[in-house]
């Protein structure tokens, strides 16, 4: 187990090194930091960005929107997904909504939302609408994948409902809940920042990226992007640890709770 973790992170490091090398080569070829700044320049810009006044309040404003949009989509996605996964007519009624939300371009939602809402609410609303169907369909699929033989076992032995929820349904859904969590969170970050670029709230990463664009501060754009990637990596790593804990029964070994 430990050995495989080590080798997998070693491979990941090789992957990162390759990406950085390609990036470096590209920036050397173009030789123009306005088009493609080098990794070193981007890191330097990141250092500057982090030290600027208002950095943390911008980061916090965006993070708060992500948190709101994500929580809303996760909570409602859970409820709608569970309903659609367990009640057939509900599934049929909801499927057009999910399909529509999955295909609608984020830009048309953003433009509408700008008309409807104050600029700070737009990213929350759009992130919610984009992440919600992901969570809902993942949870719905999870409900459908609960082993029918174990559902029968639960019926025959008259297992009380709260035991069935914690003993059968939650563990069956766990892989779907975890994957919906990471997908919805990643999606929320992307959408919030993109929508901020369009709706221009007074605080937020999107606004800072837009002004960096208008002043042709390409290294700063890269710096913000690096920051978002780092945030995503951290969230994934934390979730990976959680997943390993939740699925240790698959090891089949002598574990104690």
């Amino acid at each position: 187990m430990r050995r495989s973790t080590l080798t997998s992170s070693a491979y990941a490091a090789v992957g990162v090194a390759a990406l950085v090398a390609i990036w470096q080569a590209g920036s050397m070829l173009t030789g123009n930091s306005l088009l493609l700044p080098s990794p070193a320049e981007a890191l330097k810009a990141l250092g500057t960005v982090v030290r600027t006044r208002g950095f943390f309040s911008d980061l916090w404003a965006s993070a708060l929107r992500v948190l709101k949009g994500f929580s809303l989509s996760y909570a409602l996605g859970l409820a709608f997904g569970a309903a659609s996964g367990s009640v057939r007519p509900v599934r049929y009624m909801l499927s057009p909504l999910f399909a529509a939300l999955r295909t609608v371009p984020f830009i048309s939602l953003s433009v509408l939302a700008i008309i409807w809402f104050p600029s700070g609410t737009v990213p929350v609303f759009v992130a919610f609408l984009m992440a919600f169907p992901i969570v809902a369909s993942d949870v719905s699929e999870g409900m459908a994948s609960v082993d029918p033989l174990l559902v029968e076992l639960t019926k025959v032995y008259k297992v009380p409902w709260h035991k069935a929820v914690t003993g059968l349904y939650l563990p069956s859904l766990m892989p779907h809940l975890v994957s919906a969590f990471s997908q919805a969170l990643g999606m929320s970050w992307k959408i919030v920042v993109s929508a901020e670029v369009l709706s221009m709230p007074s605080k937020g990463i999107g606004g800072r990226m837009d002004s960096a664009r208008s002043f042709l501060e390409t290294p700063e754009l890269f710096a913000w992007t690096l920051l978002l990637v780092a945030l995503g990596f951290t969230a994934d790593a934390a979730l990976g640890a959680l997943r390993a804990r939740a699925f240790r029964w698959r090891e089949g070994r002598l574990w104690r709770m």
Binding site: L149, L150, E152, L153, K155, V156, Y157, K158, V159, K163, G167, L168, P171, W249, R250, E251, G252, R253, L254, W255, R256
Partner: protein, 244 residues
């Protein structure tokens, strides 16, 4: 009346009859076997008895307020729970403790913290058996319960089963294709007819309520008689007296 009876029971899927005209009495305090080759609806009979399926015609008379425990053909263990967690999922702590005792009697002492994926098929099936045996429900339904369980282990089961029948006043239905299982365990048995219409029986077995293990010779003779009976019934000759 503590017996479970079925009258004129019939069930079909998509218009194809699985069985029909079943009349059977499962006597309280006894093991009644239903013997027949695969595809005669034995599993469906179990599913109707425990309420997972509804019959098309006929009646199932179950004494008021009495529930079932089932030994399923498959182990049906929750993979994310330990052996003990699985037992506690289906019954209270007392029942789970009883099941763990039964398990140690079946050679699985000290297995309570193991996860199902680390058990062999036979070991999983023993957990399935212990779960149903330990359940306080008064009707015990067993659907080919001895899959991947050796003859020695089956013989070990008999006294356990008798003890549970006596202490909980259980009614046991054992559905199987194996004459050996019937000879080992059953007090009486029915033979499902080849054409799916009705069943013959009940026939009584000598092994009876004494609950003693048969020695090899006795077992061999019983199985031989059973095979002969099955063959003769298959040919249309009906001579239950053959089996004394």
């Amino acid at each position: 009346m503590e017996d479970v009876t079925v009258r004129n029971l019939g069930k079909s899927f998509d218009g194809k009859p699985v069985f029909s005209n079943l009349d059977m009495t499962f006597v309280n305090g006894e093991v009644t076997a239903v013997l027949g080759p695969s595809g005669r609806g034995k599993t469906t009979l179990i599913r109707v008895l425990c309420g997972l399926e509804r019959q098309d015609v006929g009646d199932v008379a179950m004494p008021e307020g009495i529930g079932c425990s089932v030994v399923f053909q498959e182990p049906r263990l929750l993979p994310w729970l330990t052996v003990e967690g699985n037992l506690r999922y289906c019954m209270d702590g007392e029942g789970a403790g009883r099941a763990l005792e039964i398990l140690s009697g079946l050679g699985l002492d000290g297995f309570k913290d193991r996860y199902p994926t680390s058990l062999s098929g036979g070991e999983q099936q023993r957990v399935n058996l212990a779960r149903a045996l330990a359940s306080p429900e008064r009707v015990l339904l067993m659907d080919e319960p001895f899959n991947s369980i050796g003859l020695g282990m089956k013989a070990e089961l008999l006294p356990l089963l008798r003890e549970r029948i006596a202490s909980e006043r259980k009614t046991v239905v054992l559905v199987t294709h194996s004459p050996v299982d019937v000879a080992l365990m059953a007090d009486r048995f029915y033979l499902m007819n080849d054409d799916g219409k009705g069943a013959d029986g009940p026939f009584t077995l000598e092994i009876g309520k004494a609950g003693r293990k048969l020695d090899d010779d006795e077992l061999g003779q019983q199985v031989h008689k059973l095979m002969k009976l099955m063959a003769s019934l298959g040919k249309g000759a009906r001579d239950p007296d053959e089996l004394k």
